[in-house]
Symmetry: C2
Subunit: 639 residues, 2 copies
């Protein structure tokens, strides 16, 4: 009687997977390919993708109406209408049209009072500069990160990538999985089976399971029970694919052949696992590639696939298997909503102090990037006037909860280095993420105090001492708070290429068009300080009230001729190919509570901050001094 | 100044969807196509699919070993070994091989004691008839329903369909969705945009959203702002597709064109909805087909798609949008599990008396149909010896909870009409389902009492009175219980085609091979009654202890020459092309608690039972008398 093969192992499933994945670690790796963005649905990015163009690409009308120079409307009122004449002091404009100099504001069609002359209108209120104008880069700024590495591409991402000028993207290659049915008694579907014959169907189940798991299946024709033929087929399949599944059929002795063939060709790591049904599984490595022998009974085959094939496919796909869903979260800020609408608010999510926090993002319909950045939708019913801060809301998640829970929530001053940190986090510390929201230094400290952020990046100049950040923390906090030193960065004036207005210092700004940063931004505080040092007042600066919310937005406005100068950092000027006049170095640090140091993702954040990879990226960007990065100063430590 | 279009409506999203779907109801319908099973992943079946072949197709070995006649082993014991000689009184057999007469049992290789002669073994214990034999049709019985209509095809279903001899399947056709980007200022990705130009990206987002939603997208080239051209493009698109999306771009006045074009070509049902962002949506009908105008801002476009395009695609796809997930359920029966294994138990789920119940299904690895029938997996950890009945377990769901909650749980005696009911339920009453488990009449009544079933189908003969079912209910229940009259069905002997053994009555059975039904089955009770009426005792019937659990399994065994005769219903004999000797009509009724009448799915069940469609299907099957169907008899009503 022929020798029967006994199962050597009875290893628990989890242990078997671990041993097997360890055995494959040396030889199995993620690989990448470049594909058109239009074909990238559900593929996973290799590395961060940065925008090539701004969106909008120019200052554009946000409404249908007329474009005007805001100053000519200054005195318009109910009692004293100002007359607008198309082609003379205004021009017709539709949503999306460029707003070009000398025009700098849009008046909505609804606010125009018609006259008997179709080219003449009257207005009864003044227009603020830049009203109803979407500034260049409002949605996407050239050079800005659109998607981080390791991101699964959704339909909305495809739209934003194309809008940002990206046509191709590098993504994780899908593993090619050969499926080999075996057994002399199996026949292909379509022929009437005779007694002793079995219709081969498992391989078709495997094909479709592989497809569902985002692999590329390749089913081979059934191999009869012939040792030499099986050996040859397996070897060929191993060489032409990333992994191989050998299915025993329900056949006689085939499984014995399989394990012997695999022992001859490579190494059998596990044979037999403590799973029922599904015990007779073979986990082998041949020429560095995984070859998995699955039992013939269909239920065992299915369970074997779930337990062992998917975790190996995960190695090729660098995949974390977490479904999204819904979650309840505490709203970080009050949301006012109209009773007229059911409103979809995009939110950023994070877990701070054991509470899941939902922080509303930009609400404009044009902000496609808000969809890309959002962790979910918070839907406010039409019958509600809004939601108070601190109320619990239901959020439809776009990312898995586990990912959200391992995300460092950074809220505060903007710097490009935050994009770099967000990109490096998951590659240096798998399953750890960073998300940042840009509200300026003071806004960030407020969010930190409210328990909405883990980390607040700050660059606040004490105008009395000339020392950065410390006195602000001392004053705003009454409990211990940590200042982790970040970078010294060169602040200066961003001006057009070649500096056509010949700007040399702050004193040259009156008479030119300036673009400012929003209230609370460190850059704005520095600018105020410099104005007063130079004996100037805000009223002398045209555009002092024209606020952009990021360095890149300032650079984009200067680049598009929306302004002659703005204050910002060197990397933003460099990214937009503009000139930069250094004014001085400022200190961009990170505030956080000492208790946060216990969190693994905060530890990962501090580690990435001091990593060689991060310093190298900053050197590439230019304009940073990283000496002393990561040093910690405890404030109110004795309270 | 050109005329601007004002939004006419500010309808709540839900209301807008309802109005629009109502307007489309006349002209939009589900259509079907026939495709190869191998390409049917994720497609939805039109109607029930019935198996062509049995699986296994013949009585087959469930183990490697030798095939023997059980009777020659009768006296084997530790003290008195029986010798087996290959080729003389046994033959070598491997798992899956046919077990042919005269052999009727398999002895495992492990139980064979080797001798010096490789062709001789000794055995130290007797073999029971049919031990380690998988009877024909154990997994799938020819003529049995494999999938109900409206079922979404999974990889495991593809395997079972092919194993059951099905090569093609009729499924719901996917809607073809044209996507038309519009606007003179938009350019295709790949060209450097100039001021005033916008890269067209929304249509690419739509394409991928349509794909994600299982439609077939067809993106058309951008249409400039030209009334006539837009009109012509929309009309052509409507004629060549199932639905059309017109995207405004961020363009000037385009939207005005769109609504005017749609008013000219058809009917604008809704223009403007109370959703923010996403107000300017147009819901129109042109030549009976849905044409949806979506706003140009990407966020509005995305939200418009979610709110309005998906519900219309649902009309074409006849789709209920419910994700599966996990659920906690009460285990209906004790499960013993080995500490040696992590065990995957397939369960049927249902909600009875506000409790979610998980009832374990067949545990064999060969039972592919148990995967198809299962509503989920209950995973028992390797460190557990089992789970008690009534304990709460976590179930990984294959079906949505909402579907499970609207399912009539039928447990009891088997009849093919249950498959017919299961197939008719969701087509006559959308979102109402029926699932049946076959444990015989008494088993069903026990399940009803334990609160595991809604309905127990019974055909239990009172041997004293000759009346069916009533006395059993009176005795087993002590509270009011309802008997809903079902069908009278002809029971008889199922014999081979042409009746080669010339069987005429029960008295002819001694000396022939009979296949019995399991204990508690109504057919078995009838058989026992007939035996005693004919002055016979069970010991005179060969195969009295050989139990099959369904009528079809009995028919399959007779068909495969596993037995000469078995008792069963005419439809089973007809399905397997066998002869049938009528013995008498029996009453197959349904027991349920009166309180269940409040459930909508029980109402649906009673309605289907009395429907014309159901009666017509039974006539096709033959062997049923449906007079009086649906009449209710209340038992213990006065308690």
């Amino acid at each position: 009687m022929e020798k029967r093969n006994l199962y050597l192992n009875n290893i628990p499933a989890e242990e078997a997977v671990e041993i097997y994945r360890k055995a494959l670690k040396e030889s199995v790796d993620v690989s990448y390919e470049r594909i058109p963005v239009t074909e990238a649905l559900n593929r996973v990015t290799r590395s961060a993708v940065y925008a090539k163009y701004c969106s909008p690409l120019y200052n554009s009308a946000a409404m249908d109406g007329v474009a005007v120079r805001a100053d000519i409307t200054n005195h318009a009122s109910e009692r004293e209408a100002v007359e607008l004449v198309i082609g003379e002091n205004c021009r017709l404009i539709d949503t999306g049209d460029p707003v070009r100099p000398p025009y700098n504001a849009v008046i909505m069609a609804e606010d125009l009072v018609e006259t008997t002359d179709p080219d003449r209108f009257r207005i009864l209120a003044s227009a603020a500069p830049w009203q109803h104008v979407r500034p260049i880069g409002e949605d996407i700024v050239a050079g800005e990160m659109i998607l981080p590495g390791g991101h699964r591409i959704r339909p909305v991402d495809i739209g934003v990538l194309l809008a940002g000028g990206i046509l191709q993207v590098e993504v994780i290659r899908r593993p090619q999985v050969a499926v080999i049915p075996t057994g002399s008694e199996i026949i292909e579907p379509g022929r009437e089976p005779r007694e002793g014959e079995i219709i081969e169907s498992n391989s078709r189940m495997f094909e479709n399971l592989v497809t569902e798991q985002e692999g590329l299946p390749h089913r081979l024709p059934p191999v009869p029970d012939d040792y030499g033929l099986l050996r040859q087929t397996v070897l060929k399949a191993v060489r032409e694919h990333d992994m191989v599944l050998v299915n025993a059929g329900s056949s006689a002795g085939t499984e014995d052949y399989t394990v012997h063939v695999l022992r001859e060709l490579g190494q059998v790591i596990v044979h037999g696992v403590a799973v029922k049904p599904g015990k007779p599984v073979i986990l082998a490595v041949v020429e560095g590639k995984p070859v998995i022998g699955l039992p013939g009974y269909p239920v065992s085959a299915f369970i074997g696939f779930q337990n062992f094939v998917i975790p190996v496919m995960d190695l090729y796909l660098d995949r974390d298997r977490q479904p999204a869903g819904c979650a309840e979260a505490v709203l970080s800020r009050r949301l006012i909503s109209s009773l007229k609408y059911k409103e979809y608010v995009r939110v950023k999510m994070g877990k701070v102090d054991e509470k899941l926090i939902a922080a509303p993002l930009a609400r404009g319909a044009g902000a496609a990037m808000s969809l890309v950045r959002a962790d979910g939708f918070c839907i406010i019913g039409q019958n509600r006037e809004g939601v108070e801060a601190g109320e619990t809301v239901e959020v439809e998640l776009f990312r898995s909860l586990s990912e959200i829970e391992h995300t460092v929530m950074v809220i505060g001053s903007h710097d490009l280095l935050l994009d770099v940190l967000a990109d490096l986090m998951p590659s240096l510390h798998p399953h750890m993420f960073l998300s940042s929201t840009h509200v300026g230094s003071m806004g960030g400290l407020m969010a930190l105090r409210r328990g909405e952020a883990h980390v607040a990046p700050v660059h606040l100049l004490d105008q009395k001492t000339g020392i950065y950040n410390i006195s602000y923390l001392e004053e705003l906090f009454h409990e211990p708070v940590l200042l982790v030193k970040g970078v010294k960065r060169i602040q200066g004036l961003i001006v057009k290429k070649g500096n056509p207005r010949n700007i040399k210092e702050i004193r040259d700004l009156p008479g030119l068009r300036y673009v400012n940063r929003q209230r609370g931004a460190g850059t704005r505080i520095l600018f105020d300080y410099l104005l007063s040092e130079n004996g100037l007042v805000p009223e002398e600066i045209e555009g002092y009230t024209y606020e952009a919310s990021t360095h890149m937005a300032v650079a984009a406005l200067v680049s598009s001729d929306g302004a002659d100068a703005g204050m910002g950092i060197q990397s933003a000027a460099k990214a937009m190919d503009l000139d930069f006049l250094p004014i001085g170095a400022e200190e961009y640090d990170f505030a956080l509570y000492p208790k946060s140091l216990e969190l693994p993702h905060i530890q990962a954040f501090l580690d990435v901050l001091q990593s060689r990879e991060f310093r190298m990226k900053l050197e590439e960007l230019g304009g940073y001094d990283t000496s002393g990065i990561g040093e910690q100063i405890l404030i109110h430590g004795l309270c």
